[in-house]
């Protein structure tokens, strides 16, 4: 719709990037949740008595009523596979050599997103119980990756 003609020698594109680098604190709830995961190999949630919801991973607030949560509960290390998928592509969109088995494992009214291991794709089922396999305590850094994967109970 322009009246102007493009210079035939125009470059088609200009290449560039968004140079964004971040450092994230784990926050009030994350601090305690991940310290406990790292130091004690335990998974914590918080309970909102008003809404009767148990948040896992632990949250410092109830997303429903915005109450401050200080009722910390140990939810164990085994949970139910609520749903799962076999992811076939890398972060950059290229195909993965071997599909990754990713699951949402239910704990309390929340749960954790993680990989499943020691299992083949045809053995995975919604509703099966799986258990967190922790890295050796010396290798844990306070991260979701302190859990290596979840395996069938």
């Amino acid at each position: 719709m322009a009246l102007l003609n493009r210079d035939p020698n125009s470059p088609v594109v200009w290449n560039g990037e968004l140079p964004i680098t971040n450092r994230y604190t784990y926050g009030l709830a994350g601090e305690k949740f991940f310290r406990t995961l790292k130091d004690e190999g335990r998974i914590l949630g918080t309970h909102c008595p008003h809404c009767d919801q148990t948040y896992v991973p632990a949250a410092i607030f109830c997303e429903r009523c915005l109450a401050k949560l200080d009722d910390w509960v140990d939810v164990g290390t085994s949970g139910e596979v609520n749903t799962f998928t076999f992811l076939q592509v890398n972060l950059n969109g290229s195909p993965l050599e071997k599909p990754e088995i990713i699951a949402f494992v239910r704990f309390g009214d929340g749960g954790l997103i993680h990989r499943l291991g020691e299992i083949t794709p045809d053995q995975v089922e919604i509703g099966m119980m799986v258990q967190a396999v922790f890295k050796p305590s010396s290798e844990r850094i306070g991260s979701i990756l302190d859990i290596d994967y979840f395996k069938p109970v």
Partner: protein, 388 residues
Amino acid sequence: MGMRKVAVVGAGMTKFVRRAQETPKELSWEAAHMALESCEMTMDDIEAVCLGTAPDAFDGIHMNGEYLSDGAGAWRKPYMRSYVGGGTGVFVPIQGWYHIASGLFDVVMVVAEEKMSSYYPHAQAAFLTIFDHTTERPLKPNLLWIFAMEMNRYMTTYGISKADIAQVAVLHKRNAADHPCALLGDADITLDDILKSEVLAWPVQRLDVSPVSDGAVAVILAAEHVAKRITDKPVWIEGVGWHLDTGYWTNRDLAYPRYVEYAARMAYDMAGIKEPRKEIHIVEPYDPFDYKALHHLEGLQLAERGKAPELYSDGTASRTGNMPVCPSGGLLGVGNPIAAAGLMKIAELFWQLRGEAGARQVPGQPRRGLAQAWGDLMQVGTVVIMGR
């Protein structure tokens, strides 16, 4: 049918700090939680949520509005995030206003959050990415450049000195000494301290600049019939205005913020204000840099062009003057978590007009105040006028 009246009925905020431990969600929640408590309301009363946060680069999360929704109390509620760069903090209450004035909602929570420290190592570096990707970013510009160049143009056009401008930093930082959330309040700071601070990008020196900060602010807005049930002291939103100038910032006169003038005129019209200098009792202009407060006072028609420094030198701008400017301490004193800093000004007017500002209280029971923010490539003005 006339326009629906909208009031501010509650407010809350976090401290503004250099590096917060809280996640962005948690900061939002702290402010939202406090705002609810301040007017004894619960989430059941909140019908919709409006969120303001400036570039995703700071919190470091793509689609940051979506990420922050649970912290802002938006779980299973109508929720949108609005965005006009640095002007966002004073825009997000405008967004809340139109939610209610439209007749679709009666009670809306407005939250503004910024966690600049998540951009690491230097929050300032994020600003490289606000420039045009093809024609400007290859020059490796930084944010100080455009402020410094605008300040220089302003000073040269009107013959304003560095000392004239430094008065702003002195007053605001002194005012901030009385703000419990302030990052850089200093009751004893002097003109000399400002003028002798490190030169960053002449004419900008270290103490001309507001600090990079983390924080969140929330306010609760209600329609007239609800507001009167909630509180005896609603503070009404009497006028709102916003304008966005062209993105071609090197193609306009940097000495005068025309977009702020247009935004102010829109708000004055709506509020029925004919003589702003007589009818505005407290003003919270946007002050990320000290000269910006002057620039904005002129755009807001509260001073003649090039004459805003006189408001500071003759005492008009002091907390006990005829038109106190930034009694909160402003961004220069309280801190500048971008979107949250703008909404802090709305919270300040709310407290001031209700007579609840404590040590910062402006005497004489002020009746009407104006808050303004600014942003993008020196191109947006957002204005809210509030009155008892």
